[in-house]
Amino acid sequence: MADVDETLQFAVRGKLRLQPNVVGLSKFNEACQDLKNGKVAGRMVVDFNKE
């Protein structure tokens, strides 16, 4: 728990600044396949408020 809060503070200071690849629900399957195949540089985020 405490380490999660500490890590968030790095983000507050802009030290964690990776912009993830954001996809909507419709791209969910493709995103999983890309991750599985090592095609994603950095992070993948699924936004449930996006199509």
Binding site: M1, A2, D3, V4, D5, E6, T7, L8, Q9, F10, A11, V12, R13, K15, L16, R17, L18, Q19, P20, V22, C32, L35, K36, G38, V40, A41, G42, R43, M44, V45, V46, D47, F48
Partner: protein, 279 residues
């Protein structure tokens, strides 16, 4: 990802269980229970790979609560975050500070805090070299950013222009492309003054067999085991001479990431390597 893929020996995903997968997320509190004392509707909050722990056992009374035998794993014992609304106990909910977007906060709930704990427990010091095999991936790249912020010098071993660009823009001092470089280990040793890295942070399990070699002749080097490999694969051969050279060798499987591997408490797949705490 690893729950549904079911390829970690220490845990099996029950496909018949009616639990949605995925472990981490960020969002806004839309409703609170009647016994909730401090959280409020409208606050931003994160959801972690462990949804709750018992709060009463010996481990829960220390900072090792993620080892709690009664821990409720997100996406295994309760629904994961592949849904619009999730329920999270007040005690174990993480509030997200202003100025941190959901897109950055979500991955912090697992991968970034995991690798942060690993960096702390590696005992590497400012100025030390840290090698990240697979560092262009989701967990490694968080480690690269945090390492740089902590004054540690990251070297990423990975492949492809995308990952090179990303790694170099987020704090890596060097990028060694294992497909272009004939001998990536020799290259890393050359880059680290002909000696070798102080620490190796293995987030890509395929890198375990070669992980020790990045230490070169460094005395007191450390290999931190973060990503868990599929059962029986990618093991580390640990020669005794190597252990003698690394008197303070310590390796820790952190709570690994949204790439998501969850060892049972006390799980140890490698001889001579002790698994430490997870977050």
């Amino acid at each position: 990802m690893r729950w549904p893929r079911g390829n970690v020996d220490s845990c099996t995903y029950d496909r018949s269980a009616n639990q949605l997968t995925f472990s981490t997320g960020a969002g806004v509190i839309v409703k609170i229970g009647e016994r909730v004392k401090t959280l409020k509707v409208g606050q931003r909050a994160g959801f972690k790979p462990i949804a709750d722990t018992c709060g009463a056992c010996e481990l829960c009374r220390t900072d090792k609560e993620c080892y709690c035998a009664k821990a409720i794993y997100t996406g295994l014992h309760c629904d994961g975050t592949y849904k619009q609304y999730v329920r999270s106990p007040e005690r174990y909910t993480t509030l997200i500070p202003d100025g941190v977007s959901d897109y950055i906060a979500g991955p912090i709930m697992c991968s970034a805090s995991t690798v942060y704990t690993s960096l702390k427990e590696s005992k590497l010091k400012p100025g030390n070299w840290a090698v990240f095999p697979g560092g262009g991936g989701g967990v490694g790249i968080q480690g690269v950013q945090l390492a740089e912020a902590m004054g540690i010098r990251p070297i990423v071993v990975d492949t492809g222009d995308d990952k090179k660009k990303l790694s170099m823009s987020l704090g890596a001092e060097h990028f060694v492309d294992f497909k272009e470089e004939k001998d990536p280990v020799a290259k890393v040793i050359e880059l680290t003054g002909g000696i070798g890295a102080h620490g190796v942070f293995v987030t890509a399990p395929q890198a375990y067999p070669t992980s020790l070699s990045y230490l070169g002749s460094r005395v007191g080097g450390t290999v931190m085991c973060i990503g868990l490999p599929p059962a029986g694969k990618f093991e580390v051969l640990l020669p005794v001479n190597r252990i003698c050279k690394d008197a303070d060798k310590m390796a820790t499987v952190q709570f690994p990431t949204s790439a998501g591997n969850f060892p049972e408490p006390g799980y140890s797949g490698y001889p001579g390597i002790e698994y430490g705490r997870r977050r």
